[in-house]
Symmetry: C2
Subunit: 200 residues, 2 copies
Protein backbone atom coordinates (compact mmCIF):
# COMPACT_ATOMS: atom_id res chain seq x y z
CA UNK A 1 0.00 0.00 0.00
CA UNK A 2 1.20 3.44 -0.84
CA UNK A 3 -1.28 5.21 1.35
CA UNK A 4 -1.08 3.70 4.81
CA UNK A 5 -3.74 5.98 6.23
CA UNK A 6 -6.88 7.46 4.82
CA UNK A 7 -9.10 10.09 6.23
CA UNK A 8 -11.83 9.88 3.61
CA UNK A 9 -14.06 7.09 2.45
CA UNK A 10 -14.07 5.20 -0.80
CA UNK A 11 -16.99 3.05 -1.91
CA UNK A 12 -14.99 0.04 -0.69
CA UNK A 13 -14.25 1.26 2.82
CA UNK A 14 -17.75 2.64 3.18
CA UNK A 15 -19.06 -0.76 2.17
CA UNK A 16 -17.40 -2.53 5.06
CA UNK A 17 -19.10 -0.18 7.50
CA UNK A 18 -22.46 -0.47 5.79
CA UNK A 19 -22.38 -4.26 5.67
CA UNK A 20 -21.65 -4.44 9.37
CA UNK A 21 -24.65 -2.24 10.16
CA UNK A 22 -26.87 -4.11 7.70
CA UNK A 23 -26.05 -7.34 9.51
CA UNK A 24 -26.67 -5.84 12.94
CA UNK A 25 -30.00 -4.20 12.15
CA UNK A 26 -31.11 -6.00 9.01
CA UNK A 27 -31.07 -4.34 5.59
CA UNK A 28 -34.63 -3.01 5.82
CA UNK A 29 -34.09 -1.98 9.42
CA UNK A 30 -31.10 0.17 8.50
CA UNK A 31 -31.68 3.79 7.50
CA UNK A 32 -29.22 6.12 5.81
CA UNK A 33 -29.15 7.93 9.13
CA UNK A 34 -27.93 4.74 10.84
CA UNK A 35 -25.25 4.37 8.21
CA UNK A 36 -24.13 7.98 8.52
CA UNK A 37 -23.80 7.66 12.29
CA UNK A 38 -21.81 4.44 11.97
CA UNK A 39 -19.53 5.88 9.30
CA UNK A 40 -19.10 9.17 11.12
CA UNK A 41 -20.10 11.25 8.10
CA UNK A 42 -23.36 12.85 7.04
CA UNK A 43 -26.04 11.22 4.95
CA UNK A 44 -25.30 13.42 1.97
CA UNK A 45 -21.63 12.44 2.11
CA UNK A 46 -22.66 8.83 1.68
CA UNK A 47 -24.56 9.79 -1.47
CA UNK A 48 -21.32 11.25 -2.78
CA UNK A 49 -19.78 7.76 -2.77
CA UNK A 50 -22.73 5.55 -3.68
CA UNK A 51 -26.08 6.06 -5.33
CA UNK A 52 -27.97 4.82 -2.28
CA UNK A 53 -28.68 1.88 0.02
CA UNK A 54 -29.29 -0.58 -2.73
CA UNK A 55 -25.91 -0.02 -4.37
CA UNK A 56 -24.25 -0.92 -1.10
CA UNK A 57 -26.32 -4.09 -0.97
CA UNK A 58 -25.47 -4.94 -4.56
CA UNK A 59 -21.75 -4.49 -4.02
CA UNK A 60 -21.87 -6.62 -0.90
CA UNK A 61 -23.79 -9.58 -2.26
CA UNK A 62 -21.79 -9.46 -5.50
CA UNK A 63 -18.62 -9.90 -3.54
CA UNK A 64 -20.06 -12.88 -1.67
CA UNK A 65 -21.39 -14.51 -4.82
CA UNK A 66 -18.13 -14.04 -6.71
CA UNK A 67 -16.22 -15.78 -3.95
CA UNK A 68 -18.68 -18.67 -3.79
CA UNK A 69 -18.78 -19.23 -7.56
CA UNK A 70 -14.99 -19.00 -7.57
CA UNK A 71 -14.90 -22.23 -5.58
CA UNK A 72 -16.44 -24.16 -8.46
CA UNK A 73 -13.60 -23.06 -10.77
CA UNK A 74 -10.88 -24.34 -8.47
CA UNK A 75 -8.86 -27.36 -9.57
CA UNK A 76 -10.03 -29.74 -6.84
CA UNK A 77 -13.66 -28.85 -7.48
CA UNK A 78 -13.35 -29.87 -11.13
CA UNK A 79 -11.25 -33.04 -11.13
CA UNK A 80 -11.46 -36.36 -9.33
CA UNK A 81 -14.21 -38.51 -7.93
CA UNK A 82 -17.50 -36.67 -7.38
CA UNK A 83 -17.69 -37.38 -3.65
CA UNK A 84 -14.17 -35.99 -3.23
CA UNK A 85 -15.04 -32.88 -5.23
CA UNK A 86 -18.15 -32.49 -3.12
CA UNK A 87 -16.20 -32.71 0.10
CA UNK A 88 -13.76 -30.14 -1.26
CA UNK A 89 -16.56 -27.75 -2.19
CA UNK A 90 -18.20 -28.14 1.22
CA UNK A 91 -14.89 -27.40 2.94
CA UNK A 92 -14.19 -24.38 0.75
CA UNK A 93 -17.72 -23.07 1.25
CA UNK A 94 -17.10 -22.98 4.98
CA UNK A 95 -13.77 -21.25 4.45
CA UNK A 96 -15.21 -18.63 2.10
CA UNK A 97 -18.16 -18.10 4.38
CA UNK A 98 -15.82 -17.34 7.27
CA UNK A 99 -13.32 -15.32 5.22
CA UNK A 100 -16.12 -13.17 3.80
CA UNK A 101 -18.41 -13.50 6.81
CA UNK A 102 -20.27 -10.15 6.74
CA UNK A 103 -20.77 -10.26 2.98
CA UNK A 104 -22.04 -13.84 2.90
CA UNK A 105 -24.19 -13.18 5.96
CA UNK A 106 -25.91 -10.35 4.14
CA UNK A 107 -26.32 -12.49 1.03
CA UNK A 108 -28.00 -15.26 2.99
CA UNK A 109 -30.48 -12.87 4.61
CA UNK A 110 -31.69 -11.25 1.41
CA UNK A 111 -35.49 -11.50 1.04
CA UNK A 112 -36.49 -10.36 -2.46
CA UNK A 113 -38.16 -6.96 -2.07
CA UNK A 114 -35.98 -5.17 -4.64
CA UNK A 115 -34.46 -6.05 -8.01
CA UNK A 116 -31.03 -6.41 -6.43
CA UNK A 117 -32.39 -8.84 -3.86
CA UNK A 118 -34.20 -10.92 -6.45
CA UNK A 119 -31.06 -11.04 -8.58
CA UNK A 120 -29.07 -12.24 -5.56
CA UNK A 121 -31.64 -14.95 -4.80
CA UNK A 122 -31.47 -16.17 -8.38
CA UNK A 123 -27.69 -16.42 -8.36
CA UNK A 124 -27.84 -18.25 -5.03
CA UNK A 125 -30.24 -20.79 -6.51
CA UNK A 126 -27.84 -21.26 -9.41
CA UNK A 127 -24.98 -22.00 -7.05
CA UNK A 128 -27.09 -24.42 -5.02
CA UNK A 129 -28.03 -26.19 -8.23
CA UNK A 130 -24.39 -26.62 -9.22
CA UNK A 131 -23.59 -28.27 -5.89
CA UNK A 132 -26.71 -30.43 -6.07
CA UNK A 133 -25.43 -31.78 -9.39
CA UNK A 134 -22.21 -32.75 -7.68
CA UNK A 135 -24.10 -34.63 -4.99
CA UNK A 136 -26.20 -36.32 -7.64
CA UNK A 137 -23.06 -37.50 -9.40
CA UNK A 138 -21.64 -38.83 -6.13
CA UNK A 139 -24.89 -40.69 -5.54
CA UNK A 140 -24.58 -42.18 -9.03
CA UNK A 141 -21.12 -43.39 -8.08
CA UNK A 142 -22.62 -45.09 -5.04
CA UNK A 143 -20.49 -42.98 -2.69
CA UNK A 144 -23.31 -41.32 -0.79
CA UNK A 145 -26.42 -42.82 0.75
CA UNK A 146 -29.33 -43.43 -1.58
CA UNK A 147 -32.10 -43.37 1.03
CA UNK A 148 -32.25 -39.58 1.19
CA UNK A 149 -33.29 -37.68 -1.90
CA UNK A 150 -30.45 -35.71 -3.52
CA UNK A 151 -32.16 -32.33 -3.53
CA UNK A 152 -33.28 -32.72 0.05
CA UNK A 153 -29.81 -33.76 1.19
CA UNK A 154 -28.29 -30.79 -0.63
CA UNK A 155 -30.65 -28.40 1.08
CA UNK A 156 -29.97 -29.84 4.52
CA UNK A 157 -26.20 -29.74 4.06
CA UNK A 158 -26.45 -26.17 2.77
CA UNK A 159 -28.53 -25.38 5.82
CA UNK A 160 -25.82 -26.73 8.07
CA UNK A 161 -23.09 -24.76 6.29
CA UNK A 162 -25.01 -21.51 5.92
CA UNK A 163 -26.06 -21.50 9.56
CA UNK A 164 -22.45 -20.73 10.47
CA UNK A 165 -23.10 -17.05 9.79
CA UNK A 166 -25.59 -17.06 12.65
CA UNK A 167 -23.02 -17.74 15.35
CA UNK A 168 -19.42 -17.63 14.08
CA UNK A 169 -17.52 -14.61 15.35
CA UNK A 170 -13.82 -14.16 14.50
CA UNK A 171 -13.05 -12.25 17.71
CA UNK A 172 -11.28 -13.76 20.66
CA UNK A 173 -9.36 -17.00 20.82
CA UNK A 174 -12.16 -18.93 19.08
CA UNK A 175 -12.11 -21.52 16.33
CA UNK A 176 -10.47 -20.94 12.99
CA UNK A 177 -12.01 -21.62 9.60
CA UNK A 178 -10.10 -24.89 9.33
CA UNK A 179 -11.55 -26.29 12.54
CA UNK A 180 -15.10 -25.34 11.60
CA UNK A 181 -14.63 -26.79 8.12
CA UNK A 182 -13.35 -30.04 9.64
CA UNK A 183 -16.38 -30.28 11.91
CA UNK A 184 -18.80 -29.57 9.09
CA UNK A 185 -17.22 -32.18 6.83
CA UNK A 186 -17.21 -34.76 9.63
CA UNK A 187 -20.83 -34.13 10.56
CA UNK A 188 -22.15 -33.72 7.04
CA UNK A 189 -20.47 -36.85 5.73
CA UNK A 190 -20.20 -38.98 8.87
CA UNK A 191 -23.08 -37.81 11.06
CA UNK A 192 -23.39 -37.36 14.80
CA UNK A 193 -23.42 -41.04 15.69
CA UNK A 194 -20.20 -42.57 16.86
CA UNK A 195 -18.37 -44.43 14.11
CA UNK A 196 -19.13 -48.14 14.33
CA UNK A 197 -22.21 -47.67 16.51
CA UNK A 198 -25.15 -49.56 15.06
CA UNK A 199 -28.50 -47.96 14.33
CA UNK A 200 -31.01 -48.91 17.08
Amino acid sequence: MTTARRDTYTPETLLSVAVRVFNERGYDGTSMEHLSKAAGISKSSIYHHVSGKEELLRRAVSRALDELFGILDEEQARTGRAVERLEYVVRRMVEVLIAELPYVTLLLRVRGNTVTERWALERRREFDHRVAELLKEAAGDGDVRADVEVRLATRLVFGMINSIVEWYRPDGRGMGAREVADAVVQLAFGGLRKAGAARG
Copy 2:
Protein backbone atom coordinates in the same frame (compact mmCIF):
# COMPACT_ATOMS: atom_id res chain seq x y z
CA MET B 1 -67.10 -24.28 16.25
CA THR B 2 -70.41 -22.51 16.65
CA THR B 3 -69.67 -19.87 14.02
CA ALA B 4 -68.73 -21.63 10.82
CA ARG B 5 -68.15 -18.41 8.92
CA ARG B 6 -66.75 -15.08 9.93
CA ASP B 7 -66.73 -11.83 8.03
CA THR B 8 -64.63 -9.86 10.49
CA TYR B 9 -61.17 -10.34 11.86
CA THR B 10 -60.05 -11.40 15.30
CA PRO B 11 -56.48 -10.93 16.53
CA GLU B 12 -55.93 -14.63 15.70
CA THR B 13 -57.16 -14.58 12.12
CA LEU B 14 -55.42 -11.27 11.48
CA LEU B 15 -52.24 -12.82 12.79
CA SER B 16 -52.19 -15.53 10.16
CA VAL B 17 -52.37 -12.89 7.43
CA ALA B 18 -49.72 -10.71 9.05
CA VAL B 19 -47.29 -13.57 9.57
CA ARG B 20 -47.55 -14.56 5.92
CA VAL B 21 -46.74 -11.01 4.81
CA PHE B 22 -43.93 -10.68 7.37
CA ASN B 23 -42.33 -13.80 5.94
CA GLU B 24 -42.70 -12.62 2.36
CA ARG B 25 -41.34 -9.11 2.85
CA GLY B 26 -39.46 -9.39 6.12
CA TYR B 27 -40.75 -7.84 9.34
CA ASP B 28 -38.97 -4.52 8.87
CA GLY B 29 -39.87 -4.48 5.19
CA THR B 30 -43.59 -4.78 5.99
CA SER B 31 -45.58 -1.60 6.57
CA MET B 32 -49.03 -1.34 8.11
CA GLU B 33 -50.15 -0.36 4.62
CA HIS B 34 -48.87 -3.71 3.30
CA LEU B 35 -50.75 -5.51 6.05
CA SER B 36 -53.97 -3.62 5.41
CA LYS B 37 -53.83 -4.44 1.70
CA ALA B 38 -53.19 -8.12 2.41
CA ALA B 39 -55.96 -8.29 4.99
CA GLY B 40 -58.38 -6.33 2.85
CA ILE B 41 -59.16 -3.83 5.60
CA SER B 42 -57.84 -0.38 6.38
CA LYS B 43 -54.84 0.42 8.54
CA SER B 44 -56.99 1.84 11.31
CA SER B 45 -59.09 -1.32 11.38
CA ILE B 46 -55.95 -3.28 12.15
CA TYR B 47 -55.30 -1.00 15.10
CA HIS B 48 -58.74 -1.92 16.38
CA HIS B 49 -57.57 -5.53 16.80
CA VAL B 50 -53.96 -5.13 17.83
CA SER B 51 -51.86 -2.36 19.29
CA GLY B 52 -49.49 -2.33 16.34
CA LYS B 53 -46.93 -4.25 14.32
CA GLU B 54 -44.95 -5.40 17.30
CA GLU B 55 -47.91 -7.08 18.99
CA LEU B 56 -48.41 -9.17 15.87
CA LEU B 57 -44.76 -10.15 16.00
CA ARG B 58 -44.96 -11.00 19.69
CA ARG B 59 -48.03 -13.19 19.23
CA ALA B 60 -46.38 -15.01 16.35
CA VAL B 61 -43.04 -15.78 17.96
CA SER B 62 -44.75 -16.69 21.25
CA ARG B 63 -46.74 -19.34 19.46
CA ALA B 64 -43.61 -20.77 17.84
CA LEU B 65 -41.66 -20.75 21.09
CA ASP B 66 -44.47 -22.39 23.06
CA GLU B 67 -44.63 -25.24 20.56
CA LEU B 68 -40.86 -25.73 20.61
CA PHE B 69 -40.55 -25.70 24.40
CA GLY B 70 -43.52 -28.05 24.54
CA ILE B 71 -41.35 -30.72 22.90
CA LEU B 72 -39.06 -30.80 25.90
CA ASP B 73 -41.99 -31.66 28.19
CA GLU B 74 -43.09 -34.65 26.16
CA GLU B 75 -42.61 -38.11 27.64
CA GLN B 76 -40.03 -39.37 25.12
CA ALA B 77 -37.95 -36.22 25.53
CA ARG B 78 -37.65 -36.80 29.27
CA THR B 79 -37.11 -40.54 29.69
CA GLY B 80 -34.67 -43.01 28.25
CA ARG B 81 -31.11 -42.92 26.96
CA ALA B 82 -29.88 -39.41 26.10
CA VAL B 83 -29.11 -40.21 22.46
CA GLU B 84 -32.64 -41.58 22.03
CA ARG B 85 -34.16 -38.51 23.66
CA LEU B 86 -32.01 -36.35 21.40
CA GLU B 87 -33.19 -38.15 18.30
CA TYR B 88 -36.77 -37.74 19.47
CA VAL B 89 -36.32 -34.01 20.03
CA VAL B 90 -34.70 -33.55 16.63
CA ARG B 91 -37.57 -35.38 14.97
CA ARG B 92 -40.19 -33.41 16.86
CA MET B 93 -38.42 -30.13 16.09
CA VAL B 94 -38.80 -30.87 12.39
CA GLU B 95 -42.45 -31.76 12.86
CA VAL B 96 -43.22 -28.62 14.88
CA LEU B 97 -41.28 -26.50 12.44
CA ILE B 98 -43.42 -27.79 9.58
CA ALA B 99 -46.71 -27.76 11.49
CA GLU B 100 -46.12 -24.15 12.58
CA LEU B 101 -44.07 -23.18 9.54
CA PRO B 102 -44.90 -19.46 9.19
CA TYR B 103 -44.62 -18.82 12.92
CA VAL B 104 -41.30 -20.62 13.32
CA THR B 105 -40.01 -19.01 10.12
CA LEU B 106 -40.69 -15.58 11.58
CA LEU B 107 -39.09 -16.58 14.88
CA LEU B 108 -35.91 -17.72 13.16
CA ARG B 109 -35.57 -14.47 11.22
CA VAL B 110 -35.87 -12.13 14.18
CA ARG B 111 -32.91 -9.76 14.42
CA GLY B 112 -33.07 -7.88 17.73
CA ASN B 113 -34.05 -4.30 16.94
CA THR B 114 -36.97 -4.16 19.40
CA VAL B 115 -37.66 -5.49 22.90
CA THR B 116 -39.92 -8.20 21.49
CA GLU B 117 -37.19 -9.35 19.14
CA ARG B 118 -34.57 -9.41 21.87
CA TRP B 119 -36.91 -11.39 24.11
CA ALA B 120 -37.47 -13.90 21.31
CA LEU B 121 -33.73 -14.26 20.74
CA GLU B 122 -33.18 -14.90 24.42
CA ARG B 123 -35.84 -17.61 24.58
CA ARG B 124 -34.36 -19.22 21.45
CA ARG B 125 -30.96 -19.33 23.09
CA GLU B 126 -32.55 -20.96 26.12
CA PHE B 127 -34.08 -23.67 23.94
CA ASP B 128 -30.80 -24.25 22.11
CA HIS B 129 -29.08 -24.61 25.44
CA ARG B 130 -31.54 -27.24 26.61
CA VAL B 131 -30.88 -29.34 23.50
CA ALA B 132 -27.14 -28.83 23.79
CA GLU B 133 -27.30 -30.36 27.28
CA LEU B 134 -29.01 -33.39 25.80
CA LEU B 135 -26.24 -33.79 23.24
CA LYS B 136 -23.65 -33.36 25.98
CA GLU B 137 -25.25 -36.13 27.96
CA ALA B 138 -25.29 -38.40 24.91
CA ALA B 139 -21.61 -37.65 24.40
CA GLY B 140 -20.98 -38.59 28.03
CA ASP B 141 -22.72 -41.90 27.36
CA GLY B 142 -20.35 -42.46 24.44
CA ASP B 143 -23.23 -42.57 21.98
CA VAL B 144 -22.16 -39.65 19.80
CA ARG B 145 -18.81 -38.85 18.28
CA ALA B 146 -16.31 -37.13 20.56
CA ASP B 147 -14.19 -35.49 17.85
CA VAL B 148 -16.62 -32.60 17.29
CA GLU B 149 -17.23 -30.19 20.13
CA VAL B 150 -20.72 -30.47 21.64
CA ARG B 151 -21.70 -26.83 21.24
CA LEU B 152 -20.45 -26.74 17.66
CA ALA B 153 -22.30 -29.94 16.79
CA THR B 154 -25.48 -28.58 18.35
CA ARG B 155 -25.25 -25.42 16.30
CA LEU B 156 -24.67 -27.29 13.07
CA VAL B 157 -27.56 -29.68 13.65
CA PHE B 158 -29.81 -26.76 14.55
CA GLY B 159 -28.66 -25.09 11.36
CA MET B 160 -29.70 -28.13 9.38
CA ILE B 161 -33.12 -28.31 11.04
CA ASN B 162 -33.87 -24.61 11.00
CA SER B 163 -32.95 -24.27 7.34
CA ILE B 164 -36.09 -26.22 6.49
CA VAL B 165 -38.09 -22.99 6.77
CA GLU B 166 -36.12 -21.61 3.82
CA TRP B 167 -37.45 -24.12 1.32
CA TYR B 168 -40.26 -26.30 2.72
CA ARG B 169 -43.64 -25.46 1.22
CA PRO B 170 -46.74 -27.49 2.17
CA ASP B 171 -48.45 -26.91 -1.19
CA GLY B 172 -48.67 -29.53 -3.91
CA ARG B 173 -47.92 -33.21 -3.63
CA GLY B 174 -44.62 -32.60 -1.81
CA MET B 175 -43.02 -34.28 1.16
CA GLY B 176 -44.75 -34.60 4.49
CA ALA B 177 -43.32 -33.73 7.87
CA ARG B 178 -42.57 -37.39 8.55
CA GLU B 179 -40.42 -37.79 5.45
CA VAL B 180 -38.44 -34.64 6.14
CA ALA B 181 -37.97 -35.65 9.77
CA ASP B 182 -36.69 -39.06 8.65
CA ALA B 183 -34.19 -37.44 6.30
CA VAL B 184 -32.97 -35.01 8.94
CA VAL B 185 -32.50 -37.75 11.51
CA GLN B 186 -30.69 -39.96 9.00
CA LEU B 187 -28.37 -37.18 7.86
CA ALA B 188 -27.78 -35.62 11.27
CA PHE B 189 -27.02 -38.93 12.96
CA GLY B 190 -25.68 -41.01 10.07
CA GLY B 191 -24.19 -38.46 7.66
CA LEU B 192 -24.14 -38.30 3.90
CA ARG B 193 -21.63 -41.08 3.38
CA LYS B 194 -22.93 -44.48 2.53
CA ALA B 195 -23.20 -46.77 5.53
CA GLY B 196 -20.16 -49.04 5.69
CA ALA B 197 -18.06 -46.90 3.34
CA ALA B 198 -14.68 -46.15 4.90
CA ARG B 199 -13.30 -42.65 5.32
CA GLY B 200 -10.72 -41.89 2.57
